[in-house]
Point group: C2
Chain length 344, copies 2
């Protein structure tokens, strides 16, 4: 289905290093036997890790040497100037030159975004890229963006995000006409600041392959009221991290509560299958990574920096985005939106 698809991998990103990347590839090569992979990184290390592997590793995986790597705590501006021989830079360059359709990295998020913007530029009509994240809800999944690429956003940028989220939901989640909402402090038209009200005015008039439901409140995300929840990167980032903290807190409470007595411990053993299912449901690795939407090339940041399964999910998402043609949809849909100044 994916034809001649090639995915470029920053094999040295993340805290855990290349061994989890190789473990992730075992799974990806099974699930996507038609996809080719280019691994960028220290060739000695990578060849050694691959030497033990067989099967499609010899036919579908190639290694490209990159002498350095971007550290997790390097400033994006520093990485952009000084890390042009890094595995991350080379991995992105493979997309720029056209030999790969998508890049996956578990490395420094800010550096990945900066190098992505510098090398790939933006999809036509988009003024700023955004980081999107897919959250579980009571009805399925919701795409939330921006999760931190843009600290302050005007109305047109929020419209960019709505279009990018809608295109992703159509291409990857398979929803023909996704429901899109703007996060606000209330659902009435007069609520919020100029940027959200301006974006709502534009989106209400726009002819887009989505159902714009207007303003939504925070609780509507988990309730599954929308498929795409749009907000500025400050609110999105704080909310995303607070929710991750809350999920951990509840697990912590649940574990302590279940350890309280003999009966509760016995109950926990009997219900262990159910509790494991719950744990899987809340596993942030299953979200498929942080999607850098709006870049003129597919860039996915793996959340699972220390974990092969998380990296494999991020590869799945990158492949789905390439096959689904997300960026073509974004460009086509954004072109049809009438700007606020030209509204009747």
């Amino acid at each position: 289905m994916a034809g001649e698809l090639t995915v470029s991998i920053d094999a040295m990103g993340g805290d855990a290093g290349p061994s989890i990347v190789i473990s992730a590839l075992v799974r990806s090569l099974q699930r996507h036997p038609e996809v080719k992979f280019i691994l960028h990184g220290d060739e000695t290390v990578l060849h050694e890790l691959i030497a033990k592997r067989k099967g499609r590793f010899s036919t579908n995986v190639s290694v490209r040497h990159a002498p350095t790597r971007v550290a997790m705590d390097e400033k994006p501006s520093y990485a952009l100037r000084r890390r042009r021989d890094s595995s991350m830079w080379h991995a992105i360059e493979s997309v720029k030159t056209g030999e790969a359709e998508a890049v996956v990295s578990a490395g420094n998020t800010g550096a990945l975004m900066a190098m992505g913007m510098y090398n790939l530029g933006l999809v036509d009509g988009i003024s700023r890229p955004a980081i999107a994240s897919v959250w579980p809800t009571q009805r399925g999944q919701t795409v939330v963006l921006d999760c931190g690429a843009n600290i302050e956003c005007d109305a047109e940028q929020l419209v960019d995000f709505a279009v990018m989220g809608e295109a992703f939901a159509r291409a990857v989640l398979g929803l023909p006409r996704p429901k899109v909402g703007l996060l606000n402090v209330g659902s009435e038209d007069m609520k919020g600041h100029d940027a959200v009200r301006g974006a709502a005015a534009i989106l209400r008039e726009a002819k887009l392959p989505m159902e714009f439901v207007g303003f939504i409140e925070g609780n509507h995300i988990a309730e599954g009221v929308v498929d795409v929840a749009v907000t500025d990167g400050f609110t999105g980032n704080v909310t995303l991290k607070t929710v991750e903290g809350t999920a951990k807190l509840i697990s912590f409470y649940l574990r302590s509560a279940l350890k309280r007595s003999f009966l509760s411990r016995l109950g926990a053993v009997l219900a262990s299958g159910a509790l494991l299912a719950l744990k899987r449901k809340l596993d942030p690795r299953a979200a498929g990574g942080g999607l850098m939407l709006g870049l003129n090339g597919i860039v996915v940041k793996s959340h699972g920096g220390s974990d092969a399964l998380g990296f494999a999910y991020a590869i799945d998402t990158a492949i789905d985005m390439a096959v689904g043609g997300v960026n073509k949809s974004i460009a086509a849909d954004r072109a049809g939106v009438v700007p606020e100044a030209a509204l009747p």
Copy 2:
């Protein structure tokens, strides 16, 4: 301990009406036998509800007639103009005239804030009031503000919130030197927009009875890294509601998971004590309501609009705030802060 304390109650606020208020009072009169209560509302209805009650209801509770009430969906501006004969208005007026120290209402949040500001004004040195909420964390509790009173905030307003949160944590949570953090997209000094960076600059130099820990990220709230987490009302409101939605979603997953098989159902029965303890821990009613800090009078909005226990917790919080002298602390602490323009 509370001496001659009187609490004014809007007995007609909330969806559930006055019967839950009377049930809440049964608990409050037991816990606070020294406190007097003034109930504002429909006197026929209230006298009828109280007629069956005995004990301190006859000595500590008085009823004041108010012919109308504020509806839950009325606009604050409308309520402020047209509802001056309502139970909410009269309840706030009891604080304005000095016959009560605090007011508790389960009614319309926006109207309560508007009437509170109009009638009580602000604590000296505070430019905007804020809604604070107390969240459970891995280490105890954290005060989060603003949760929605102010959509856009500058640096000085964020400083107001930090002072109000710190004073609340000292007076009510009993922490002599609370840890205060500013929510941001990262903990490095250069992160965020002008308002958070400006507020951090002011707070770093301020001599306040708190430990200013600088920028924090969303996950730090649940981890209990700070006692007070400060943010603008847009971010705070979206985050608060998203977290409430997430907690409900996880309960929903847990319930469905535990129903999956005979064994998991049996396990759930055995662990039911532990699961109930978890439920209590996550109960938003236990948070003691939404605190309207910065008003020159104590105003608490009960979350438990439909529930006596939630209302009783809100009364507890109002009493703690009055006894602890929150507003005196706010005024004294704010006066000592050097404005950004005057920083060295």
